[in-house]
Symmetry: C2
Subunit: 100 residues, 2 copies
DNA sequence: GAGATGTGCAACTGATTGGTTGCAGATAAC
DNA sequence: GTTATCTGCAACCAATCAGTTGCACATCTC
């Protein structure tokens, strides 16, 4: 779960695609590939990674498929990160009081 | 930057190592490899990924090297995620007001 | 100094990834 | 009904990655 989410976000191309989906609304793979050095197929693969991570959802409309951003999953990632930071802070505090 | 951070966090083994560093304090690679199915070398490679992401720092002490968690970088990841979520929320709100 | 312990480096293997090309099937436009 | 457009699938390639093994070097202990 976190694996695929962080994995999907670790690629700048995928982050950029996600940002475009968030900013410009649902887009088609060929459209996204239009102003991009990538092939449509490459874009499709990246989109599939986003879909697998739950960060986007495809929706068929006639002969074309629009991908929509579904960033609820970002909350999961945020939770993990925030919790980790909090643990770190707690440890620091514990050291400050307990130790020297 | 985000690439390496998210990339480092996308591996469950690395997240686990980071958690151990955060929870138990600075550790040595061989120590971490002790209760783990991995080789020391494998652990070292994972730790190097964390170091490259700025999530941990090695420190030489005599003949051994302790790795310490330095989770300030988590804040960078959190910022990006929160900002992305915010953009999404803004877009939703814009649609609600502007459109139907 | 000799032996034990911890680290670093290099080479190698198998699996995964990012990307391409080619082609076939479905749907729209004329 | 043709033709153009969009998608899906499969094969393929180069590069990267996770993990291993083997060995050399440094450092602590006795």
């Amino acid at each position: 779960m976190l694996d695929v989410v962080f994995g999907a976000l670790s690629d700048p191309t995928r982050r950029r695609l996600l940002e475009r989906l968030v900013h410009d609304g649902p887009q088609t793979a060929t459209c996204l590939a239009g102003d991009s050095p990538l092939t449509r197929q490459a874009v499709v693969k990246h989109l599939q990674a986003l879909v697998e991570a739950g960060l986007a959802t495809p929706r068929r409309e006639g002969r074309e498929v629009r991908y929509m951003a579904t960033p609820e999953r970002l909350a999961v990632a945020i939770s993990w990160l925030v919790e980790s930071s909090a643990q770190w802070d707690r440890r620091i505090e514990r050291l400050r009081q307990h130790g020297r």
